[in-house]
C-alpha cells in the first residue's frame, strides 16, 4: 500500500512500479471531488494563506490538497489526528521533513539516472563501461533508499503517536527493515556497487523459436564446468584426476560489438531490476514528501491563529445537514489585518430543513465577508483543518461551488455575451455539474438585468437547486426574492454593521 498522510483510500495493494508525481499535484487516491480554483479565488482562500506561508511551492501544494474535497468523515479525522500528533512532536516533524528533503533528492537523482540510461539507449551510445557505471549507481541508489526507510521507521518509533496515519507509516517501515531478507538485498546492492568487468564474466543464454538470443544473463562463476582438452593433452594433474568429461567448445569472438551488446543487455537486466525496486520504494513513500508540505502550512496556520489570539477548533462532523458554528471569523480579514480584535465574529446555525439561505444587507455591511467565512469554514473543515471559531459542528457536502459577480472581470475581447448571459451560462454549467448534497455560494447573481426579471429567474433556479438537494447561500439585493421564498425551506438573514440578524 502507498503510504499517505492525507488519504485513507490509496491505490494498489502491493508495491507498484510507478513514478510519483513531480508537480505540486498530490494524488488523493480515493473518491474526491475537486473544488474549482475559482472558488478558492472567490473566497480569497489563496490570499489568506499567502499571509500564513510565504513559500509559494508549499502554499500551492497546500491549496491543491484543500481543493480536493473529501467527503469521508474518517479521512477528515485521520488528518485531524495527524495534525495533533505533529503539534505534540514538533521536533519529530522537522526531522522527518528534513529527512524527506534528502529522500526526495535521492528520488530525483535516481530519475535522472534512469533518464540518462534511456538516452544512452535511445542514442545507441551505451557501452559496457557506461552500463557498468549505471549498474553501480543503481545499486547505490537502492541501498540508500532502503536505508532511508529504516531511518523513517527509527524516527517515528521514538514518538508517542496517536494518529492512525503516522502509526501505519511507522509500521510499514518496520515491516520492511525487520524482514531477514532486508540484509540480503542490501548485500546484493553492496556486491554490485563494487562490480567490475575485469572479473570472471559468466552468462547463461537461451534461444527463442527463431534461433535468436532471448536471454543473456549474468550467472555465478560456480556454475561453469569446463574440461580443457588442451590442458589435458599437456597432462596437467587437475585433469588427470577428473573423472567427468565436460562437453565444451572454445568461442572465438571476432572484433565486433556483438558480445559487448550482449554484456550491456546482461548488465541492464540487473540495473533495471535495481531501478524498479528503488522506484517501488519511492512510489510507496514519496507522496509523503508533498503531504508534509500540507502539514507544514497547516501548522503555520494554527501558529498564526494562536499568535493573533483567535480561538480555533477542529470541527465536529454531523451525520445530518445541521450546521452550528459559534463565533466564526472571516479568515481573510483575520490574516490581512494587524488588529484582529476589531473583526466581528458571527454565529451561523442552519437546521436540516433549510436548503437555501438568502443574505441581505446594505452595501459595505459585511455580506460578502459573511459568505466568505461560511465558505472558507466549509473548505477548511472538510480538509481536516481547524476553523477560526469557538466551536463548530458542520455537515459534509459532496461538492462546493460558487458564482460571484466578480467574474465580470473575466470579460474580454471575443466574449460577446453580456454580464447577465455570462452569469446564466455559469449557472447552467453548475446546474449540469452539481449533484445531490452540493453546496453553492452565490454572490449578487443576476443583478445586472431588470430586478424583477432577475429575481424571478433566480427564484426558479434556487427552487430547482433546493429540489435537487443542493444547498445555496445567496448574498443579494434582490428584495423580490423575499416575497417569493418559502420560509420553511429558506433562511433569510439580514446583516447590519457586520452583525447577522435573523429575519422572521
Amino acid at each position: 500500500m502507498k503510504i499517505s498522510l492525507l488519504s485513507l483510500k490509496v491505490t494498489g495493494t502491493k508495491l507498484t512500479n510507478k513514478d510519483a508525481p513531480d508537480g505540486n499535484y498530490i494524488d488523493m487516491g480515493g473518491n474526491v471531488n475537486s473544488i474549482d480554483r475559482k472558488v478558492l479565488y472567490h473566497l480569497s482562500v489563496d490570499r489568506s494563506f499567502s499571509y500564513v506561508c510565504a513559500d509559494v511551492k508549499k502554499r500551492e501544494s497546500f491549496l491543491s490538497v484543500i481543493s480536493e474535497l473529501t467527503c469521508d468523515k474518517n479521512e477528515i479525522e485521520y488528518r485531524q489526528d495527524i495534525i495533533r500528533d505533529f503539534q505534540k512532536n514538533p521536533g519529530s516533524f522537522e526531522r522527518l521533513a528534513a529527512l524527506y528533503e534528502r529522500f526526495e533528492e535521492l528520488r530525483l537523482s535516481q530519475k535522472a539516472l534512469r533518464k540518462n540510461e534511456y538516452l544512452l539507449n535511445a542514442n545507441k551510445a551505451d557501452t559496457a563501461f557506461a552500463s557498468k557505471n549505471i549498474l553501480q549507481a543503481q545499486a547505490v541508489c537502492l541501498k540508500r533508499a532502503l536505508l532511508f526507510v529504516k531511518k523513517f521507521g527509527e524516527l517515528l518509533s521514538v514518538c508517542n503517536l496517536r494518529s492512525a496515519g503516522l502509526i501505519n507509516f511507522s509500521s510499514a517501515c518496520r515491516e520492511i527493515c525487520e524482514n531477514p531478507e532486508f540484509q540480503n538485498l542490501l548485500g546484493f546492492c553492496g556486491r554490485y556497487e563494487q562490480f567490475s568487468v575485469n572479473d570472471f564474466l559468466d552468462f547463461k543464454f537461451s534461444l527463442n523459436e527463431h534461433g535468436h538470443i532471448e536471454e543473456y544473463a549474468l550467472i555465478d562463476h560456480g556454475y561453469i564446468y569446463v574440461s580443457d582438452p588442451e590442458l589435458k593433452k599437456k597432462g596437467l594433474p587437475f585433469f588427470k584426476k577428473s573423472e567427468v568429461n565436460y562437453r565444451c567448445e572454445r568461442v572465438f569472438p571476432g572484433k565486433n560489438d556483438f558480445y559487448e551488446g550482449l554484456l550491456i543487455t546482461a548488465l541492464s537486466d540487473i540495473s533495471g531490476l535495481f531501478a524498479s525496486l528503488s522506484e517501488q520504494i519511492f512510489d510507496k513513500f514519496s507522496a509523503v514528501y508533498r503531504e508534509l508540505e500540507f502539514y507544514f502550512v497547516a501548522l503555520k496556520y494554527i501558529e498564526a491563529l494562536v499568535q493573533k489570539n483567535i480561538p480555533y477548533c477542529f470541527p465536529e462532523i454531523t451525520a445530518d445537514r445541521n450546521v452550528k458554528v459559534k463565533s466564526l471569523y472571516d479568515l481573510y480579514l483575520l490574516m490581512s489585518t494587524d488588529n484582529p480584535g476589531k473583526i466581528i465574529p458571527n454565529d451561523f446555525c442552519l437546521s436540516d430543513s433549510y436548503n437555501s439561505v438568502i443574505v441581505y444587507g446594505d452595501n459595505g455591511s459585511g455580506k460578502t465577508s459573511f459568505l466568505r467565512s461560511v465558505g472558507t469554514m466549509q473548505i477548511l473543515g472538510q480538509a481536516g483543518l481547524p476553523v477560526p471559531c469557538e466551536c463548530a459542528k458542520i455537515c459534509l457536502y459532496s461538492q462546493i461551488a460558487s458564482q460571484f459577480s466578480e467574474a465580470e472581470k473575466e470579460f474580454c475581447g471575443g466574449n460577446e455575451a453580456g454580464r447577465f448571459e455570462q452569469e446564466t451560462r455559469e449557472l447552467a454549467a453548475l446546474a449540469d455539474e452539481l449533484s445531490d448534497g452540493a453546496f453553492l455560494l452565490l454572490n449578487e447573481t443576476f443583478q445586472s438585468t431588470a430586478y424583477e426579471e432577475g429575481a424571478q429567474g433566480l427564484y426558479n433556479i434556487l427552487e430547482y437547486f433546493s429540489d435537487c438537494n443542493i444547498r445555496c447561500v445567496l448574498v443579494t439585493h434582490l428584495r423580490e426574492l423575499e416575497k417569493m421564498s418559502d420560509k420553511d425551506k429558506c433562511l433569510l438573514l439580514y446583516i447590519e454593521n457586520g452583525h447577522v440578524i435573523i429575519k422572521m
Binding site: T16, N17, I176, N179, E181, L185, F188, F200, L201, D202, F203, K204, F205, S206, L207, N208, E209, H210, G211, H212, I213, E215, A217, L218, I219, D220, H221, Y223, I224, Y225, V226, D228, R247, C248, E249, R250, V251, G254, F258, T265, D269, I270, L273, F274, S276, L277, F420, E421, T424, R425, L427, A431, T449, A450, E453, G457, N460, I461, Y464, C468
Partner: protein
C-alpha cells in the same frame, strides 16, 4: 503438379485511365494495390465470379477463413524472405523450419473453402489433392523431429576469462532471479524481465553448431529433402485476398455511417440505374452523414447535364456515379440500395486541374484531354464524366465548347454525365439534373439531385431559455434528474 488456380482473373483487355480513379477520389479511400485491380474491368464471366465471391465474404465464416489465409500467407512470405537473406547458419536452420511450418499452414488454410462458390472451391480442391496431402503429412512428421532437435540446442553457458568457452547449461540460476526472489520476499513486485531478440553473429553460431554438431547434422539432412519444392507458389494469392478484404472493409466502414451496399444486377441493355447511390470518397474526410441520390441513365437518356448552386453537391454526385461504376466493372459491391448497371466497355473522366489543387492553367489542356477521351472511347460503349470542363475561358466560348462536345458524345452513343455551371444548358436539347435544397431535411443545408422540370423571444427570458434555465426547462431538468437517479438506483439494485 498442377498450377494453382487464381481467385481473381483479370482477363479483360481494357485498362481504365488512372486519372479516372484519382478524379473520383478512389485513391483517397483505397490502397494503390486495390486501385490496380479496379483499373482493370473484368472480362468475360469474371464479373459474376467476383460478385459471387464478394457475396460470400459477407458470411463471417468465409471472411474469417480468408483473414486466416492472408495472415498465414504473409507469414510465409516473410519467412521466405528472411530465409533467403539469412547468412548465419544457426539462424538459417530455424528460419527454414519456419518456412516449412508456414507452408503447411498456408496450404491447410487455402484448402478450407470447399463449397464456397466457384473461385474459392477451385483453390480449395487444388490444395486438397491426394498428392498434396501426402506431401503435407511428410513435412509435418519432419517438423516434429526438427522441433525436438532445436529444443536440444537452444540454451547453454558462456564463460569469458583467459579462454572463452561454451558449454551446455546444467541448471544455472541467473543473478537477477536470485535478487528478484529476495525482493519478492520483502513485498516488492518484480517486473517481468524483457526478453531480448538478438540475432546471433557468425562466431556465436559457429560455437553453438560445434557444441551440438550431431543435432545440427540431422537437421541439415532433413532440409535437403525439400530442396526442389517451390514454397513461393501460394504467395501469389496475397494481393488478391488483400483486394477482397479491402473492399469488404470499405463496405463495413460505410455501413457504420449508414451507407448501404449491394451487388448490382448486370443490365442486359446499356444503362445505369441506382437507387440511393452514395459518394463514399467522402469517408476520407471523416464525413458522418452522406446524402444519397438516384441515378437513372437509360438507352434513351444517355446524356445528362448537371447544374446548380455552388456547394450543391454536383461534384459529389458525379463522383458517386463514377465510383460505383468502377466498382461494378471490377465485380465489387456498389454503394447503393439497389442497382442495375450495364457492363460498359470503357469509362473516363475529365476534371479540371484546379479541383486537384495543382493550379495549372487549362483551356488547351482541357480541349486536348476531352477530345482524347472521345478517341479512346471509339467503337466502345463508354461512360464519360465531365466536371466543369471548359470553364477556364469566357462564358460564350466555354458554352460553345460544351455544346460542341456534348453533340459529339451524343453522336458517338456514349453515356455521359456533364457537370457545368453554364445554366444555358437548360436550353439545349439534353436532359438536365439540378441540385436543390432537400425539403425533408429540416434546417440542414443539404441538397438533392433531381431532374429539372423547367428552364430554373424578453431578453432575460430568452437567455434563460437558451441555457435551459427558464421555468419549463428547469422542470424538464428536474424530471431528467429524477429519471437518472431512478435508473441509477435500479441498476445498483440489479448489481446487488
Amino acid at each position: 503438379m498442377l498450377t494453382a488456380p487464381q481467385l481473381l482473373y483479370c482477363g479483360g483487355e481494357t485498362v481504365l485511365p488512372p486519372q479516372l480513379l484519382s478524379d473520383i477520389r478512389l485513391d483517397g479511400i483505397l490502397s494503390p494495390q486495390a486501385l490496380c485491380f479496379l483499373q482493370k474491368p473484368c472480362g468475360g464471366d469474371e464479373i459474376l465470379r467476383r460478385q459471387e465471391l464478394f457475396g460470400l465474404v459477407e458470411d463471417e465464416k468465409v471472411l474469417g477463413r480468408l483473414k486466416i489465409c492472408l495472415s498465414n500467407l504473409l507469414k510465409l512470405e516473410r519467412s521466405l524472405m528472411l530465409w533467403h537473406s539469412e547468412k548465419v547458419p544457426l539462424n538459417s536452420y530455424y528460419l527454414y523450419s519456419d518456412v516449412l511450418s508456414d507452408y503447411v499452414n498456408v496450404c491447410e488454410s487455402l484448402s478450407a473453402f470447399e463449397d464456397c462458390g466457384q473461385s474459392l472451391s477451385e483453390v480449395s480442391e487444388y490444395f486438397l489433392s491426394d498428392e498434396r496431402r501426402r506431401f503435407f503429412s511428410e513435412i509435418k512428421t519432419d517438423l516434429g523431429r526438427i522441433s525436438e532437435l532445436l529444443g536440444k540446442i537452444n540454451s547453454g553457458l558462456l564463460s569469458f576469462s583467459s579462454k572463452n568457452w561454451i558449454t551446455p547449461d546444467r541448471g544455472a540460476v541467473i543473478e537477477s532471479d536470485k535478487i528478484a526472489s529476495v525482493a519478492q520476499k520483502l513485498g516488492f513486485t518484480v517486473p517481468v524481465r524483457k526478453k531480448s531478440d538478438t540475432k546471433p553473429d557468425i562466431t556465436f553460431s559457429d560455437a553453438v553448431c560445434r557444441l551440438y554438431f550431431a543435432e545440427i547434422g540431422e537437421i541439415g539432412s532433413i532440409f535437403r529433402k525439400y530442396a526442389s519444392v517451390d514454397f513461393n507458389e501460394p504467395t501469389g494469392y496475397i494481393p488478391q485476398i488483400r483486394f477482397i478484404l479491402e473492399i469488404y472493409e470499405l463496405t463495413r466502414k460505410a455501413e457504420k455511417i449508414g451507407v448501404p451496399h449491394c451487388i448490382a444486377e448486370i443490365s442486359p441493355v446499356p444503362g445505369y440505374f441506382a437507387a440511393d447511390v452514395y459518394d463514399i470518397s467522402l469517408m476520407a474526410k471523416e464525413c458522418e452523414r452522406i446524402i444519397p441520390n438516384d441515378v437513372d441513365f437509360t438507352e434513351t437518356n444517355r446524356f445528362f447535364f448537371l447544374t446548380g448552386a455552388n456547394g450543391g453537391g454536383k461534384t459529389t454526385y458525379l463522383r458517386a456515379v463514377g465510383i460505383n461504376l468502377v466498382l461494378f466493372l471490377a465485380g465489387c459491391p456498389v454503394f447503393a440500395k439497389r442497382a442495375s448497371i450495364y457492363r460498359f466497355d470503357f469509362a473516363a473522366s475529365h476534371f479540371p486541374k484546379d479541383e486537384r489543387f495543382d493550379g495549372v492553367g487549362r483551356l488547351d489542356e482541357e480541349l486536348r484531354r476531352s477530345f482524347g477521351m472521345l478517341s479512346a472511347s471509339e467503337n466502345k460503349t463508354a461512360f464519360l464524366l465531365f466536371n466543369e470542363t471548359f470553364s477556364g475561358t469566357d462564358e460564350r466560348r466555354g458554352f460553345e465548347l460544351v455544346k460542341n462536345i456534348s453533340e459529339n458524345i451524343r453522336a458517338a452513343g456514349h453515356f455521359c454525365l456533364y457537370v457545368t455551371h453554364f445554366h444555358e444548358v437548360i436550353n439545349l436539347d439534353f436532359p438536365v439534373l439540378i441540385s436543390e435544397v432537400c425539403p425533408e431535411d429540416g434546417n440542414r443545408r443539404t441538397f438533392k439531385i433531381v431532374r429539372s422540370k423547367s428552364a430554373v423571444a424578453s431578453y432575460a427570458y430568452d437567455i434563460l431559455r437558451k441555457y435551459r434555465l427558464d421555468k419549463d426547462s428547469l422542470t424538464e431538468r428536474r424530471k431528467n434528474r429524477e429519471n437518472k437517479s431512478a435508473q441509477f438506483k435500479s441498476d445498483r439494485h440489479k448489481v446487488n
